[in-house]
């Protein structure tokens, strides 16, 4: 039997800004699910945003899922493969993208974990720690999908 892959699921965003908290809410729900299933090879983490030190963290895993809220026109959620990006300047001063983190990981630590970005569609972004109803629906749909996806991944690795 093959060894199970080490997996990191990393949600980010600010839960104090309504639907920007989708990433953290996703991780909270996954924590329960993983605990119930006793999958010790899956680690979870959250933060307000991604930053350069996350390149060191993901280097320790075979498979990485970033989870973030999005305003992009996706249907409820989308799961896309992340490739190391070209080394172009980021728009923001203090945060970086998943592709940037993966690129930095590759350059600094010579590791390129298989990396995916789960985008959850959000709608409201005011100063409130509460997901909108639409975002809650998207969270549920994304959890259903992702948990099935995880089961398949883990079964395929056996």
């Amino acid at each position: 039997m093959n060894q199970k892959p080490s997996i990191l699921i990393f949600g980010y965003g600010n839960p104090g800004r309504q639907d920007d908290g989708l990433g953290a809410a996703f991780i909270e729900r996954m924590e329960r699910w993983i605990g119930e299933n006793e999958w010790s090879n899956i680690a979870l983490d959250t933060n307000y945003q991604l930053n350069i030190e996350d390149a060191e963290q993901i280097a320790a895993y075979d498979l990485v899922y970033f989870v973030d809220a999005t305003i992009e026109p996706v249907e409820q959620f989308s799961l896309t493969k992340v490739e190391p990006s070209d080394a172009k300047v980021e728009f923001t001063m203090h945060a970086v993208s998943p592709a940037f983190v993966l690129n930095l990981c590759q350059k600094l630590f010579s590791k390129t974990p298989e990396t995916w970005l789960l985008h959850l569609k959000g709608y409201q972004w005011e100063f409130e720690e509460k997901l909108s109803e639409e975002a809650k629906n998207n969270l549920e749909a994304a959890l259903d999908f992702f948990q099935q996806h995880m089961i398949k991944k883990l079964n395929n690795s056996n």
């Binding site: 920007d20 350069i52 060191e56 080394a87 980021e90 350059k107 100063f127």
Partner: protein, 484 residues
Amino acid sequence: MSKKITIEPVTRVEGHGKVTIHMDAQGNIQQSRLHIVEFRGFERFVQGRPYWEAPVLVQRLCGICPVSHHLAAAKALDVIVGAGTGDGLTPTGEKMRRLMHYGQFFQSHALHFFHLSAPDFLFGVDGDPAKRNIIGIALTNPDLAVQGVMMRKFGQEIIRATAGKKIHGTGAIPGGINKNLSIEERDEFLKGADPLNADKMVSWAEEALDFFKKYYFANKDFVDNFSYFPSNHLSLVRKDGALDIYHGVLRAVDADGKKILNDIDYQEYDKYIEEEVRSWSYMKFPYLKEYGKDKGWYRVGPLARLNTADFIPTPLAQKEFEAYKALTNGKPNNHCLHMHYARLIETLHAAEMIRELLHDPDLLGDDLVIKGEKQKEGVGLIEAPRGTLFHHYRINDNDQIEMANLIVSTTNNNEPMNKAVNNVAKSVMTGKEVITEGMMNAVEVAIRAYDPCLSCATHALGKMPLELTLVGPNDEILDRKRSH
């Protein structure tokens, strides 16, 4: 007749910013303006909320420096719960907060240097933009890039151990803290395997400073002359004049070093500081009332702190401070790009302070909170990495916040950032009608020196691309460039 160049927004600056540069028909720079959309909704948002929620609520402002807001709010609420004005906490309470704050400083300054400013030094302000970031450094100088990443990680781990968690930390509460440091946590930070231990962080902070000094002395003319202008400087200092980023009195000096705000109690800041509204900007312009709008504006941040402080209370940083002060014969340093030099001296100081605090048994104590006679109003002031941060709250009889006023570091630096942009525009854009990437980045280098967090100043979400527009004498658009 004038022409106008607009840069909107600024890359590698959080939030929404736009730079407009006005030219006359002869191509001379008439005026430059940095527009930041300041949203004042947060002060209204906290009204009606129980006061004890504020240290967690304010972290909603910004994911960049939540610890700064967390601590400034907690300090204001210390006053409200009768725990004094910053120096009345238990030793464990105060030192745990200081450790959290130095951890925040260390990681924030490391990010600025390795990710944002070092690329400009390594590859040139007008160098290839594809290389001008930490990935470019990783390709050419991997050891330096690894240092940057691991210094960030160390600072983040300090924050996690003191604030409790990465998101919405709860470590600081009105009157103290809710946890001490465990022996295991302390030992990990002191004796952890290289590189994640305090000794290594001190040594790497010294190396980063050496890297900058080498660059500086090889490019002295450029660094000294890039957007130089005299100004007042404002920051907290310890009562004996030492650099202190957590607590002290408020001091301002003018460009010659004369004290123009003489170590006042910051509970009375509103007697001395006023905020001007200008029609073209959403962000206010703070100034010292006594000196008026034209002469009372000031800089905050690393450059200002090393201009107001008399000394640094850690040996390695003090030695560097003396060499740094000698460059300007002991007078205030008004060189824009020396902000990076000052920031790295502070990084070294933060590393030394973290190490010193970790050896202090008070961090392991159990006496965490102190309370006294409740007050209706309190001001919390700290030096955030990018400058002085004011939190001011007043509560009603139901313990609800009825008034909040925040002046964030980026707002304090509003006028100097405008001056810095204008200086650079005069130097690189006079007579030009085509905007090059090098010109755009030169303007950004001036703004980035202040490490502005526009997300914080604007309380805004999102990232924006860079756009620069050149508008002619009749307001016609001559050129427009968008970086991404």
